[in-house]
């Protein structure tokens, strides 16, 4: 826990009043509905706005507080704005080089060429921003932020304007940012899927207040938080690659509760990987059923139930030592007599590999 | 044709700026003894000449020289035979500093002076006169680098008065005021050193008021006022 932030900010009727800390490694998601103060907070952390009632300490270094306020350009952060905000007077390459040139050579982790390649900008380098499509613009903005080799990356919904294919291409690199470079990222988003995939830690903001904060797997399965009740709700598991099915191109992932079989064979034996299981992809049965296309079936113990609405319940189960969510109808719950403590089988239709 | 804006009994009189103060005095005296009203229109003589050419609504033109009135008369833009010399200007070498200029003008420039102001010899009669004086003393070429020229005699005076030029050839009328002592030091240049600075007036539009005013300008009362401002009269 070594990034500490504390701010009290007033904007018209809106009051942002937060005091939280987050790990200085990995991706921390800042999650909250529109207008909850995410951008306001990110700007304060970046040093773009000065708020006297503020304190910020990153990895032992105080950026605001004790009478000190470091201006934005002295903070070793990079910022991807909610709108691409490219420099209109520079072409794409010069936009990328702008920050790159201002970083001392020995501090550079990534070259302009690499950023171009990572974000697929090869054909755009000579173009001016006004000729780019919305998604192209945002890709350039991300590449530009990477080019300052930041020690801390602040991203304000950077993928909102991208199509799924582009997102899929960019996400792995964003992931590798903290894996290979150890750059912590503070990532604003309102898509749970993105957060589940990218984030290790989650700060939940609502109407200017931090409602809860904690590691993503716990946060996602807490039935007292809204996260476990969104249509995308799901659980995250830490697993290890245990082997492969060469014939069907499957990878076996072991965790405390059993073994997953997931499509693909891109991982290495023994590698640690996280998987996400959406609540809507988990069905419950009383017996272990055969002759089904569902490959992943685990014994599970019901821990807690919460009403979703008149017709559905969310069930938290324990599988091994990890929590699992399952959204089922009240009718099924009644028919199967789902209750805390009950032994059941969880059928997992689909497992999403995270980084 | 263009006189609609003016009330009957009023006349518009164009006057060279440097004569304006004197003429204003003359007008006050004139208006005190006649039913007419005089409106003064100030400007440089060259500008007035151009404007008269282009239909300016003026009745009388008090020029700073004799050349422009003569030209206008010849071009038929002035009433033939109405032209006369109303005043003769006197040239002085003046400095606002006490004792800077010797009263007899000898030596002409007692100290090294950075700038000596004159009016533009091409445009202003006082400038031409100053040039003649310097030429006569063989100083024109020597002093070339020190000369600063005003577009008109008014500016030459400002150069000196503001202290930017130590001394300058200006009009006597600029330093002399009726019943007032003269500031600084001056040399009243002998009139034989330059050709006379004749200032002429010409009638542009006939009217009773205009004739009455011109008659007044020639009167003894007017002459007294002119002398008070340092002009001589023919």
């Amino acid at each position: 826990m070594s990034i500490e932030a504390q701010y009290s900010i007033t904007r018209g009727d809106f009051l942002l009043d937060v005091d939280f800390s987050m790990p200085s490694r990995g991706v921390t998601a800042l999650f909250g509905p529109s207008g909850s103060g995410k951008s306001t907070l990110l700007r304060a952390i970046a040093g773009l706005d000065f708020h006297p009632q503020g304190f910020l300490k990153v990895a032992g270094e105080t950026w605001q507080g004790d009478g000190r306020f470091a201006p934005a350009h002295q903070r070793p952060f990079a910022y991807v704005f909610q709108e691409a905000s490219l420099f209109a007077h520079l072409n794409v390459r010069s936009n990328l080089e702008y920050g790159f040139k201002r970083v001392p050579p020995q501090q550079r982790h990534i070259s302009v060429e690499r950023a171009i390649q990572l974000l697929g900008l090869e054909n755009l380098v000579a173009r001016k921003p006004e000729t780019l499509s919305g998604g192209e613009r945002q890709r350039v903005a991300i590449a530009r932020a990477l080019c300052v080799s930041p020690q801390f990356l602040l991203m304000d919904e950077p993928l909102a304007a991208l199509d799924e294919a582009s997102k899929r291409e960019i996400l792995p690199y964003l992931e590798s940012l903290h894996d290979s470079l150890g750059i912590p990222v503070l990532y604003v988003s309102h898509t749970l899927q993105e957060i589940a995939r990218l984030a290790d830690y989650l700060v939940l903001l609502e109407a200017g207040k931090v409602v809860a904060a904690g590691p993503v797997p716990q946060m996602l399965t807490r039935l007292d938080l809204p996260l476990a009740h969104s249509s995308d709700a799901g659980a995250i598991f830490a697993t290890q690659v245990a082997g492969f099915d060469q014939v069907f191109h499957l990878t076996h992932l072991d965790f405390s509760g059993g073994r997953f079989a997931v499509p693909g064979m891109a991982l290495k034996l023994g590698q640690q990987v996280r998987v996400r299981i959406a609540a809507r992809d988990v069905s419950l049965t009383l017996e272990h059923q055969g002759s089904t296309s569902i490959q992943n079936i685990f014994p599970a113990v019901v821990e807690e139930l919460a009403l979703e609405n008149d017709a559905q319940v969310m069930v938290r189960l324990q599988v091994g030592d990890a929590p699992l969510l399952s959204r089922i109808t009240k009718k099924s719950a009644a028919e199967l007599d789902v209750q805390p403590g009950k032994q059941m089988f969880a059928q997992v239709k689909s497992v999403v590999l995270l980084a | 044709s263009q006189r609609s804006a003016i009330t009957p009994g009023s006349i518009r009189v164009a006057v060279a700026s440097n004569f304006a103060a004197t003429l204003a005095d003359l007008c006050r005296a004139f208006e005190a003894q006649s039913p007419y009203h005089v409106i003064l229109v100030l400007g440089s003589t060259g500008k007035h000449y151009a404007q008269i050419h282009n239909g300016a609504p003026l009745d009388i033109f008090f020029a700073a020289d004799a050349r422009r009135p003569a030209l206008l008369e010849r071009e038929g833009l002035a009433v033939a035979g109405s032209r006369f010399t109303y005043a003769i200007g006197k040239l002085v070498l003046w400095s606002p500093q006490q004792g800077y200029v010797a009263a007899d003008g000898e030596p002409l420039l007692p100290r090294a002076c950075r700038h000596l102001a004159i009016a533009n010899p091409q445009l202003a009669p006082y400038g031409r006169a100053a040039q003649e004086v310097l030429r006569a003393r063989g100083l024109w070429e020597t002093l070339r680098g020190q000369l600063v020229q005003g577009e008109n005699i008014g500016q030459a005076f400002q150069f000196v008065e503001s202290g930017n030029a130590e001394a300058g050839f200006v009009a006597y009328s600029q330093v002399k005021r009726p019943q007032q002592p003269i500031r600084g030091s001056l040399w009243l240049v002998p009139e034989e050193l330059y050709s006379p600075i004749e200032q002429q007036v010409v009638l542009l539009q006939e009217s009773a008021a205009a004739h009455a005013f011109l008659d007044f300008v020639r009167s003894a009362a007017a002459r007294e006022i002119l002398h008070g401002y340092g002009y001589s009269t023919p």
Binding site: - | Q2, S4, A5, R12, S17, N18, A20, A21, A24, I39, V41, L42, G43, K47, A50, Q51, H53, N54, G55, A56, P57, L58, N152, G154, F157, Q158, Q174
Partner: protein, 227 residues
């Protein structure tokens, strides 16, 4: 008395001239600037150069040529006379014409760059909201170019107030008609009536200052209220 009554008349005349001129300048300058900011025409740089030309000519010289054109022998003067009017030289109308020509670049240039920075997007949005070209020009382009209009109006107005050479040439220095305050001060200076020159200059500066400060103050307030 501190003021000649003639000076007060000159002061009033000056502000009247500046107001009318500014009004006309904005009226003519706005569409011109708009056109210049938006036309893709390849030779517009020629028009831009022509608009900026009056700036480069000494005002007295400009005035001299205007005098010739507007006077009773000049083409415009004769045209007007032929139409039954008075040639505009030596009249208030003449001053307005001269001032408009002289101050045109000060209005067109800031407006043009303001329009250019507004960009196309807000106008496109307005178009999709049913606003015709005129409509969106007045309801979107003009308000968004606000700072540019302020600059244009202030420069145009102030420049007309301070104008001297043109006015002196084509106006003929006629009290109550064409004798504006700049000429009045000049006359005082030339006539060595420094006292009245100082008083009138001070009055002009004070008035100008109050006016400008007021405009800028209001502009600031206005923008703050909008926020």
């Amino acid at each position: 008395m501190m003021f000649h009554s003639a000076d007060l008349i000159a002061l009033a005349l000056t502000f009247k001239l500046a107001s009318i001129t500014t009004f006309i300048l904005l009226l003519i300058g706005t569409p011109l600037a708009w056109w210049l900011a938006n036309t893709p025409w390849r030779f517009k740089f020629l028009i831009e150069a022509v608009v900026a030309m009056p700036l480069m000519l000494p005002p007295t010289v400009l005035g001299f040529y205007l005098l010739i054109a507007l006077g009773n022998h000049g083409p415009i003067g004769q045209l007007v006379e032929w139409l039954g009017g008075q040639p505009p030289a030596f009249t208030f109308t003449g001053l307005v014409i001269g001032s408009v020509i002289y101050s045109m670049p000060f209005v067109v240039q800031p407006l043009q760059s303001a329009f250019r920075t507004v960009g196309r997007r807000p106008l496109e949005v307005a178009a999709t909201l049913r606003a015709s070209p005129w409509d969106r020009f007045f309801t979107v382009a003009v308000p968004l170019a606000g700072p540019g209009f302020l600059t244009a109006a202030v420069l145009g107005f102030a420049h007309t107030i301070g104008e001297f050479g043109v006015v002196l040439m084509i106006g003929g220095n006629i009290p109550g008609e064409t004798k504006v305050v700049s000429i009045a001060i000049y006359d005082h200076v030339e006539g060595m009536d420094y006292h009245h020159a100082h008083v009138l200059s001070a009055a002009l500066m004070l008035l100008s200052f109050v006016l400008l400060a007021g405009v800028y103050f209001l502009n600031r307030r206005l923008r703050m209220v909008q926020l």
